[in-house]
């Protein structure tokens, strides 16, 4: 679509109409919570993983250790749950510390 537009000197110019996003996400989809999951990895040290959980999520040491042990014994642990943008931020931080982490929709 094109729009004719008057400019100061009285001549006309043609400009592109602003692009409109046609893809929409319904409210239900936006409300779906996401979870941050850390997966087991035989290389990362247990003390290192605990420190990263404390640092990234601000968890007290005991809670961070509980999650670390869950990762170690069960293969994965859900560290956090909430909006997607925040989950992406946390996963980026965890990848920055070289932990195996993913974000998944809560089903």
């Amino acid at each position: 679509m094109r729009i004719e537009m008057e400019i100061e000197r009285g001549s006309t110019s043609t400009v592109e109409a602003p692009a409109q996003e046609t893809e929409t996400r319904d409210e239900d989809e936006l409300d779906i919570p996401w979870q941050v999951i850390v997966h087991n990895d035989p290389v990362n040290l247990m003390t290192y993983v605990t420190m990263v959980f404390q640092r990234v999520f601000g968890y007290p040491r005991e809670k961070a250790e509980r999650h670390m042990l869950e990762v170690h014994h069960k293969g994965r642990s859900v560290l956090w749950c909430g909006v997607r943008e925040r989950a992406e931020f946390y996963v980026q931080q965890l990848h920055g510390h070289l932990l195996l982490a993913t974000l998944e929709k809560v089903v």
Binding site: P42, V43, L45, Y48, M51, Q92, T102, E104
Partner: protein
């Protein structure tokens, strides 16, 4: 070899030439060129959703690459203290400024992950800390993973004030 906290630095003293050489190899060991599995381990997929992975590759991965490179460069600069007299059998001392501790943890982790991916060490091999002696390049790789882990443990202990 002795490790201790000296003021605002972590000091590794009485480093014999072999261990000094292993430390010097940290930056080189983070290099994953030609090792697709190692690269895949450093830059893992964040999700099963294609859209998220595509955005990640464009926007997040370059940031991670910069972060990892910066950590490795910091460690390489610190390791310059060990340069010179490489052929001497004299013991050396390395001082790691405490403010570089995060960079060291990161670079050591990169090195451990890349070496592990390169030699495809199994969980059993990684947990066998009594394995000896070093008879091949692969054995040396496993020793490096354990030695770098030992250094990481020490840095972590000092960071947490244990």
């Amino acid at each position: 070899m002795e490790i201790s906290r000296k003021g605002e630095a972590l000091e590794i003293s009485d480093l014999d030439p072999f261990l000094a050489e292993l430390l010097r190899q940290i930056p080189g060991s983070t290099n994953f060129d030609g090792e697709s599995e190692a690269e895949a381990r450093l830059f893992t997929q964040p999700s099963n959703e294609k859209e998220i992975c595509a955005e990640w590759k464009s926007y997040v991965e370059p940031e991670l690459r910069r972060l990892f490179r910066s950590a490795t460069e910091t460690v390489a600069d610190d390791l310059a203290q060990l340069n010179g007299n490489e052929k001497s059998f004299r013991s050396r001392t390395l001082a790691i400024p405490f403010e570089h501790a995060d960079a060291w943890l990161n670079a050591l982790n990169q090195a451990r992950l890349v070496i592990t991916a390169k030699y495809k060490f199994s969980d059993e091999e990684l947990s066998d800390h009594d394995r000896s002696p070093i008879g091949s390049r692969r054995d040396l790789g496993l020793f490096q993973v354990n030695f770098y882990g030992f250094i990481q443990e020490f840095i972590l202990r000092e960071m947490q004030g244990d």
